[in-house]
């Protein structure tokens, strides 16, 4: 099939299959999946500038589908999500500005690639350690479908590093808010904005929705139960990816027809992925998440060795 805007010639079946896999991962883990979709588009000859913009456009659609499903399952903390929007947008802009500044440097691909590898390796190692420790201490945790009626999500999602979140909840910088959906009595708004800024910054700096950073930050820094972190992260990805889609489309980097074909697969995958979260406890979801950053690292190293950026 010929795509007039980007000039690419790609099989729709390939795009639907890539979309399905990325949608499935997105619905289950609350990530955008750009670390897989980006290289998959690049591999079939989509020009690099279109890869980034088109991927963001398809992430918007897929995240809407998955977030709506998670909302129906009660997995989105809207209050948290709306406060995070501010930090996310500021972070995206800061990350994008840093990229613009680094463009004057000759080694931008290597700098971005190495930053990506260090961050992903750190997340993966920490989550491996934490999940193993949690499972040894508390077992696999209860899936929402097995939780008793009226049981708070935080009671069914144990974490070995809950003390980190408790310390952050203890930060005494007003104003404070409570997040009843996430089971948090009091937390400084600044702590939420900082976490949102970190996610937004990496989204602007490295591209994609940066759910692989925001989702662990929500769990470990703010102490949000895993299922709610997945749903709320998807809500944030809608915001950051929509912003990215508009800016990239204005620069002529979005082939919306490719994004629509990918979304036919992604929408179905996202529905299945989001529904599957009902049947797994928090520690199991976190454990299954661990290989994702590793896959991202392999793709980046491959890109750097082959002489072209992975993003």
């Amino acid at each position: 099939m010929n795509f007039l805007i980007s000039g690419a010639h790609i099989s729709p079946a390939y795009l639907i299959a890539v979309g399905f896999v990325v949608g499935l991962l997105g619905g289950f883990f609350g990530v955008g999946g750009s670390f897989l979709a980006g290289p998959a588009l690049y591999a079939v000859g989509v020009p690099m500038n279109f890869v980034v913009g088109t991927d963001l456009a398809h992430i918007v659609g897929k995240s809407i589908v998955a977030a709506r499903k998670h909302r129906a399952l009660g997995n989105i903390d809207m209050k948290l999500g709306l406060i995070m929007v501010v930090g996310t947008i500021v972070g995206v802009e800061a990350g994008a500005q840093l990229i613009q500044w680094l463009k004057h440097s000759a080694h931008i691909d290597v700098a971005v690639g190495i930053t990506f590898i260090v961050v992903l390796l750190g997340i993966s190692s920490f989550m491996t350690w934490e999940t193993i420790k949690t499972i040894r201490m508390h077992g696999h945790g209860k899936s929402p479908s097995k939780s008793r009626a009226g049981e708070h999500p935080s009671q069914t999602d144990p974490s070995a590093t809950a003390h980190i979140a408790r310390r952050i909840h203890g930060i005494k910088i007003p104003p404070y808010i409570s997040l009843p959906v996430s089971g948090i009595d009091r937390v400084s708004i600044w702590a939420i904005l900082l976490v949102a800024f970190i996610g937004g910054f990496f989204s602007g700096f490295l591209g994609g929705g940066a759910g692989y950073i925001r989702m662990p930050c929500l769990i470990y820094l703010l102490g949000i139960p895993t299922h709610i972190a997945v749903g709320t992260d998807l809500f944030e990805i809608i915001i950051s990816a929509s912003y990215g889609t508009i800016t990239h489309a204005l620069k002529g980097n979005v082939d919306i027809l490719i994004a629509l074909v990918m979304h036919t697969g992604a929408a179905i995958g996202a529905q299945i992925g989001a529904t599957l979260t009902q049947f797994f406890g928090g520690p199991r979801i976190r454990m299954a998440f661990i290989p994702l950053p590793i896959i991202g690292i392999i793709i980046i190293i491959h890109g750097l060795l082959m002489g072209h950026p992975a993003k």
């Binding site: 007039l4 659609g61 897929k62 204005l250 979005v254 629509l260 074909v261 036919t264 929408a267």
Partner: protein, 82 residues
């Protein structure tokens, strides 16, 4: 698999099939009726193109799911009767 789980799996699969059919149909409609217009917008007016691009993908995400939910609410009572 117990009866309740079987029922909810069946409902989910039916909903998924309806949704998949709508999503694919939507793409073919856009491809058939709007592809040339979108390509012209891309060349001529990037601002409208940016808004149209986001609107098309959001529509595929939200409107089709709402339509699926509406269709499914019509189908479900018949399934339950069987």
């Amino acid at each position: 698999m117990n009866r309740e789980a079987k029922g909810s799996l069946k409902s989910f699969l039916v909903e998924l099939v309806v949704y998949a059919a709508l999503v694919v149909g939507y793409f073919f409609l856009v491809q058939h009726f709007l592809a040339d217009w979108i390509a012209r917008l891309f060349q001529g007016d990037r601002r409208i193109y940016a808004v149209a691009a986001l609107a098309l993908i959001v529509c595929q995400g939200i409107a089709l799911e709402m339509l699926t939910a509406a269709l499914f609410s019509l189908i479900k009572p018949r399934m339950d009767d069987k």
